[in-house]
Symmetry: C2
Subunit: 453 residues, 2 copies
């Protein structure tokens, strides 16, 4: 049996040198959206794993390469760890208090673009592995790492990659890229993610703008066409009107409702943070708030663009109009069916002039909340955090977990250092060092317990 006193001591003693490694990784601006620094970062990641005795491969995709690394362990179990080495763009730069690609420590936190999402999670796993390897020459189980470089642009290559590397990636369980505590510092276990189907709807009916005094009542107006098409998708009752949209939806189970009831209510915190008086439908308190927030399909207008947007007036009828629309999906919806139903619906409603451009999508994916691996990860947190993780059935966000669940047929659990103030995707992204250490200690225990199970 592993001695956790000395493992924890090793983690604490080696924290600073490990954080130096993290700083070096954060210094590489590996920005998927701008196709910057991805090859270089993949190489550094592979080197960091090779330094721990992993056999590494840098595998090409149609976009950024995937880093794969494997180190055999004592038992016959295999744990797959998914992370990503790409980061969000740092803009707007003027809102950062320190340079985004220079990891900077202030008040027990370290600030840098990508330090929480997701480089800190990756390097924190190494801190746990280093401690385990300091105890014994061999890992207690086989560990496989897979790190992609396109997560921040919707992991366009991952479903295909996983499908084509089923044998390489084969494992008994998987630890996902993130995890962490809620606004009360209670550790959470997130057991799934919604899917997404992101489209651009556009209308172009004239070759140029027309004076509104001339065109208002005889020329088709692209902005009106778009408004009417959008209004046909969803009304103020928030029910999505595309026929078939809910056909494959699996409603939250009784177990999901139990878990949702046990979640702390975040609504009051949100109300203050975003200046909201009331939530849609007047929802308040769990389980209802959580179920509505994270476990139902959504249709969100993310942007509208047409005609004149400056100060004052311009009497113009726009030739073009455009909307960005984001559908969040729940099991068992797929982006493909949403796209198909959307086209059929728009045509049926007389909006054949509305063009659909598919900008990316991911299917939803969940792990059974009572899967033994999930329980093992939840329990392993207790010694570190002084409490078990709270089980959260799904995140409202999206990621490429569906491909792992679907092609590799394994349970996925989370372990990480996230917290509500970590500013991921925003200026001043940061990690809390105390939570970083806890996540490493949790990770070491997960590996031990998983190998022993």
């Amino acid at each position: 049996m592993t001695n956790f006193e000395s493992i924890d001591a090793h983690i604490e003693e080696n924290l600073e040198s490990n954080l130096d490694e993290l700083s070096r990784l954060c210094a590489i601006p590996s920005i998927a959206a701008q196709n910057i620094g991805l090859e270089e970062c993949a190489k550094v990641v592979a080197d960091m794993l090779a330094a721990r005795g992993f056999k590494t491969q840098i595998l090409p995709t149609s976009g950024a390469p995937v880093v794969y690394a494997e180190r055999a362990g004592k038992g016959d179990k295999t744990l797959l760890i998914y992370n990503h080495y790409d980061v969000q763009p740092p803009e707007p730069l003027d809102l950062w208090d320190s340079p985004p690609f220079e990891a900077t420590r202030r008040n027990g936190k370290i600030f840098a673009r990508g330090i929480s999402d997701d480089k800190g999670h990756f390097v924190g796993r190494l801190l746990a592995l280093d401690a385990l390897l300091a105890q014994e020459d061999e890992l207690p189980c086989t560990i496989k790492f897979v790190l992609e470089g396109g997560e921040e642009i919707g992991s366009p290559d991952m479903p295909e990659f996983v499908k084509n590397h089923v044998d390489l990636l084969a494992a008994d369980a998987c630890i996902w890229e993130f995890g962490g505590v809620n606004h009360e510092d209670v550790p959470q276990q997130i057991m799934g993610m919604r899917g997404i189907c992101y489209v651009e709807l556009s209308v172009e009916r004239l070759t140029m703008d027309v004076h509104s005094g001339l065109g208002g009542s005889v020329f088709p107006n692209a902005a009106w066409r778009l408004v009417w098409a959008l209004a046909s998708l969803k009304g103020p009752d928030e029910r999505i009107r595309i026929p078939g949209h809910y056909d494959n939806v699996v409603d939250p189970s009784q177990r999901d409702r139990e878990l949702a009831s046990a979640l702390p209510y975040e609504g009051d915190d949100y109300k203050e943070r975003y200046g909201v008086d009331e939530f849609l439908g007047g929802v308040s308190g769990n389980p209802d708030f959580y179920l509505q927030e994270a476990m139902q399909p959504t249709c969100t207008i993310c942007g509208l663009d047409s005609g004149y947007q400056g100060p004052g007036t311009k009497t113009v009828q726009p030739a073009k109009a455009l909307a960005k629309v984001d559908f969040r999906l729940v099991p068992n919806q797929t982006p493909e069916e949403v796209l198909e139903n959307l086209r059929v619906h728009l045509d049926a409603e007389g909006f054949g002039d509305v063009q659909i451009k598919y900008l990316g999508g991911e299917a939803p994916g969940r792990t059974d909340p009572d899967d033994p691996f999930v329980d093992l990860v939840v329990k392993a947190a207790e010694e570190v955090y002084g409490m078990k993780q709270t089980k959260v059935p799904m995140s409202g966000g999206s990621g490429p977990n569906h491909a792992f669940l679907h092609y590799l047929d394994l349970p996925i659990a989370t372990c990480g250092m996230g917290y509500p103030g970590n500013q991921v995707h925003a200026p001043n992204e940061n990690i809390r060092i105390d939570l970083y250490v806890k996540a490493a200690k949790h990770m070491a225990r997960i590996i031990r317990d998983f190998a022993a199970a």
Copy 2:
């Protein structure tokens, strides 16, 4: 009786020196939207009139000053001439083939910002007056000029100005700022203008944007709220749904339909110019096309602005959304009633969160198509153009004519040098010199016939 051979000869002989005056006026960038050069231009305009023996006044308003000028004539008749000395902004500058404030001659045309709208019309009137004054020391009737400096921003001060200067402006008839020929070079008499009510509708429901994975189903979405509010204003049937909106509408008369039937059909020309396959409701041919184009109320979305509008995806729920909406009005609608009905409607439909900002408006105004003054102006064209003017009941555009009609109780007719290629409000604004000369000759005849009537 005036000798028109010598008047026409005088117009032709003095054309070049008159065009030099026009060039000097065009060199002053009197841009109302940017509040540039207005006082300077008003002074030059007043000086040009004083040089013709007019008593001039520069009268303040809350915006640009109004130039008023008067010269008594022989008879007891008074003709009021309305023009404006402000111009549209010249942007985008890179699309001009010559500098916008340097009048430049090419191929029988002169190019400059404001040369057609409306400085050429003003200076062309002077060419006519100079010719009349070369014949006799006295004008055949009293002439009053009123030139404003805010027409291009919706004449915000004119209704109040006219109301407060009823005695000063009192006249028997009025010549409006524009006029001209259609795409077949047939001269047109335009006997009215639609009104306008221009509003900005905005929704702001959050203090900042929210990640769409989080906010999609619990936070109010400003873009959705705006889309639904807009869709409540008008549907694809083009009928405006605001209760009371049509209550005061006077439908086109039998006489309007007769006049509309006689108008050349411009639809084929529009289709080619704007790349349109079919007009709204499949309308084709006159009178239907014209009546739909220019004589019915409209509700036009001129612009939409919300959230993310860049390339690719951003998964964000926008905190704010904004639409620019332009209502064109027909007699006897008013901007005030539209505003009031709009607020009541939005509130009744549950859109109390949609803010209305009034950006300006003008009431519609018409002169009786069979008014003797109109017939006089139409007939006076015959000698110059080789044909009478075609009577167009209304322009689809808007202007401050309502205040003149309402407070001064006089008929308004048009006389001008406009033509479909004059690019007013656009780069390369221009006049055709042949039409400039014709408009001056027409103006001289109008003054003669009006004084004699």
